[in-house]
């Protein structure tokens, strides 16, 4: 069965899940965040035309609001993200296309699709797109390229070395165009651009794995900020350990877990030598030998992440780990046995259904 052609999906009705604000007690700030309050990523969304424009009052039946659409003119509400108040009025108006979220008396609109908005301290996965004299420009899925100054990376030969002109000349030996890296947002500029740093042993160039970009926030799917964005997990079917990096910006890296020299020698060596040794592999672009079992499980994990996104589920450690276990069990039942790693189309929906318990 090399090809499956399905009839087009009909639009699914959006469940009306918001109650009218008037008859909800004010302590209800938890209900909206727990629901995967988003529209389908693929289906069409029924839009309801506001018939009575004269007395708009935060209509709870509206599935979706569009930019410029009046949300409410009731002064008891405060405006949140994704809304604005036009000059000379008191109307809260949507500035993005999305669903309305309400936290106590705060109204905000969650965009259906949005680019990543950097915040200080976010863990991001980025790709170098430009090399300049003293800095790199990094694509992090934001509206602008983030910048990574040469002074914000760990130079080989010890963390505390001073940056020299030789380093500037050899800037491409650290990161070249196309290289993937994991970094942290260090600073935000006035215009929303971000400055990154990799001054930690956790950060740096990525290798031994695959990259997958999922859309960030919106629609209920995508990567959400959580306590742990990087973890190492045990894989099934005789594979080694696998590292997963979920960038807050929706870029995901799945790779074979490599014992860094630090981890190996931590047992024998003191902390002072650790930094010198870790820098040995820091800017390598050579993959370690990876056995096919590990590769297969990496593909399976990648399939889990894409299946989660395609079915509008959030992507975090809990969901990915549970999804992976579910996928391993699904493969056991499959006709091709545990080697079957395909999780697209219907298999993905099956996986999502198993995870949400529907």
């Amino acid at each position: 069965m090399p090809i499956t052609i399905l009839p087009p999906k009909s639009s699914r009705p959006i469940p009306s899940r918001r109650a009218d604000p008037e008859d909800v007690p004010s302590d209800s700030d938890s209900d909206t965040s727990s629901q995967a309050g988003g529209a389908d990523l693929d289906g069409d969304i029924p839009m309801i035309t506001t018939a009575n424009k004269s007395s708009p009052k935060y209509d709870s039946n509206t599935g979706i609001v569009t930019p410029g659409e009046l949300i409410t003119s009731d002064p008891q509400w405060m405006r949140g993200h994704g809304t604005y108040i036009p000059l000379g009025t008191k109307d809260i108006t949507s500035s993005v296309a999305g669903t309305i979220t309400r936290t106590n008396k705060l109204i905000s609109v969650r965009p259906l699709r949005a680019r990543y908005t950097p915040e200080v301290g976010d863990l991001v996965v980025g790709r170098i797109v430009e090399v300049q004299a003293k800095r790199w420009r990094v694509d992090v899925g934001s509206t602008q390229l983030a910048s990574l100054p040469l002074s914000a990376i760990n130079l080989p030969g010890g963390i505390l070395r001073k940056r020299t002109e030789t380093d500037e000349l050899q800037i491409r030996t650290f990161f070249a165009e196309g290289d993937l890296l994991v970094a942290e947002v260090q600073q935000l500029f006035q215009d929303g651009g971000a400055s990154l740093h990799t001054r930690s042993l956790k950060y740096g160039k990525l290798r031994n794995g695959v990259f997958v970009a999922v859309t960030g926030m919106g629609g209920g799917g995508g990567v959400v900020r959580s306590r742990r964005q990087v973890w190492t997990m045990d894989a099934a079917n005789g594979a080694g350990q696998i590292d997963v990096v979920l960038g807050v910006n929706g870029y995901v890296w799945i790779s074979k877990h490599v014992e860094t020299p630090a981890e190996v020698e931590n047992k024998t060596m003191g902390i002072t030598n650790m930094e010198e040794n870790v820098s040995a592999t820091m800017y390598s672009s050579q993959n370690d030998p990876i056995d096919s079992d590990t590769m297969r499980e990496i593909v399976r994990l990648r399939g889990v992440v894409t299946a989660l996104v395609e079915n509008s589920l959030r992507v975090d450690e809990d969901m990915v780990v549970r999804g992976y276990q579910e996928a391993v069990e699904m493969a056991l039942l499959s006709s091709k046995g545990p080697e079957d790693v395909y999780l697209g189309g219907e298999r993905g929906q099956q996986l999502a259904a198993a995870l949400t318990g529907v």
Partner: protein
């Protein structure tokens, strides 16, 4: 011809992808089997203003729409053709049926968002698609009205989403479905007089005729994108897979009945088709084009042994010489395990032969693609 804009992937990613695709069986990043297509949804007859239209949507969000429009055009007479039409009607009838079409009766335009319509990649895509359609002359023969007039067909192929992967298979499948759903008004006039059509759209016959049980008798060609990594042959590659391809081919395959049955009458076609159904579909290779994979333009990886940023602790023992020319060193190197090296040179003849054979063999991919396309509701 470059297949796509430059794909930005790091050498480590490329090396990993190449390694996993070279395994036996290959491990594709999305877990598909080597011959498996991405799941897609298809519908036809979506544009009321066209003679035929179709839409196909891949699960990753790439979407294409094709509209077919037809108009009557006067056929240019050949320079040596001095027949007088009215006098020998019998003869003209025969000739009209065996008449050859001309390839400029079909105008095919491809539009890819973000690309100019005279961009070389867009023009190349259009050329490949029209080449498949015109290769055996079977399609243009259907457009003959009589000796003086023919249908001129405009095929507008639009990719609606940004090109997330090389769109050739998607555009080809959508064009296929659009042509299958194409209807032309029923001709009322006879012989070589000025054409006069029935204005009842419900009576309009399909360009590709169908039998009484709605079975399509002949089918337009399909172009498949096939690539090879090492000795593995992979169908419908995604963008990142194409980025490590050793060789990529666009193989156009036609259903052989589509050319043979076009000049025969309705009754005979039915008989032909049932005979063919029993022995399976006869596939015919229409054209092969090599597509230049973006892998050739990717930067090579730097092995640890020559990386000046690697193992700085050891630089003391003779690292001085290494430091001097960092850029020159990255240019060329021997193949090292785990380091990306862009493919050089042409494809192996054996691999090329296997590519074509795997596409064409009975029960092969082309066969199954035709089977799946038959399942689409043509409305």
């Amino acid at each position: 011809m470059a297949s796509q804009q430059h794909v930005l992937l790091s050498p480590a990613e490329l090396a990993y992808l190449h390694d996993s695709l070279s395994l036996t069986p290959p491990l594709r990043p999305d877990g598909r089997s080597p011959t498996q297509y991405r799941p897609l949804s298809a519908e036809t007859g979506i544009l009321p203003g066209t003679n035929g239209s179709a839409r196909i949507c891949f699960a990753d969000g790439t979407e294409a729409i094709v509209g077919v429009k037809a108009e009557v055009e006067k056929t240019r007479r050949k320079w040596d053709d001095d027949t007088i039409y009215d006098e020998n009607k019998e003869e003209t009838r025969e000739e009209a049926e065996g008449a050859e079409g001309s390839s400029d009766w079909v105008e095919l335009t491809v539009e890819i968002p973000g690309f100019r319509d005279d961009d070389s990649s867009t023009v190349f895509l259009a050329a490949m698609l029209s080449e498949a359609l015109l290769a055996d002359g079977g399609f243009v023969r259907r457009l003959v009205i009589n000796r003086r007039f023919h249908w001129k067909v405009y095929l507008d192929i639009l990719l609606i989403s940004p090109p997330l992967s090389y769109p050739l298979p998607l555009l080809s499948l959508t064009t296929h479905l659009a042509l299958l759903s194409t209807r032309l008004p029923r001709l009322k006039s006879e012989g070589d007089e000025d054409p006069f059509f029935d204005d009842d759209w419900a009576a309009a016959p399909y360009l590709y005729p169908r039998s009484s049980n709605k079975k399509v008798l002949a089918r337009p060609p399909v172009t498949l994108l096939v690539m090879a990594v090492g000795n593995n042959i992979i169908f419908d590659p995604a963008k990142e897979e194409l980025a490590v391809a050793d060789v990529a081919l666009a193989v156009s395959v036609g259903d052989v009945s589509s050319s043979s049955s076009s000049s025969s009458s309705e009754g005979e076609e039915d008989v032909d088709m049932t005979a063919e159904e029993q022995e399976g579909r006869k596939l015919r290779l229409l054209s092969i084009r090599t597509v230049d994979p973006p892998s050739r333009l990717t930067p090579p990886g730097v092995p640890n042994a020559t990386n000046s940023a690697y193992g700085h602790a050891q630089v003391g023992e003779g690292g001085k010489t290494k430091q001097q020319m960092p850029e020159a060193r990255a240019a060329e190197s021997e193949a090292v395990e785990g380091v990306w090296k862009p493919p050089r040179g042409g494809a192996k003849a054996l691999v090329m032969a296997a590519l074509v054979q795997k596409t064409l063999q009975r029960g092969g991919v082309a066969d199954e693609v035709f089977d799946a396309l038959e399942g689409v509701d043509l409305g």
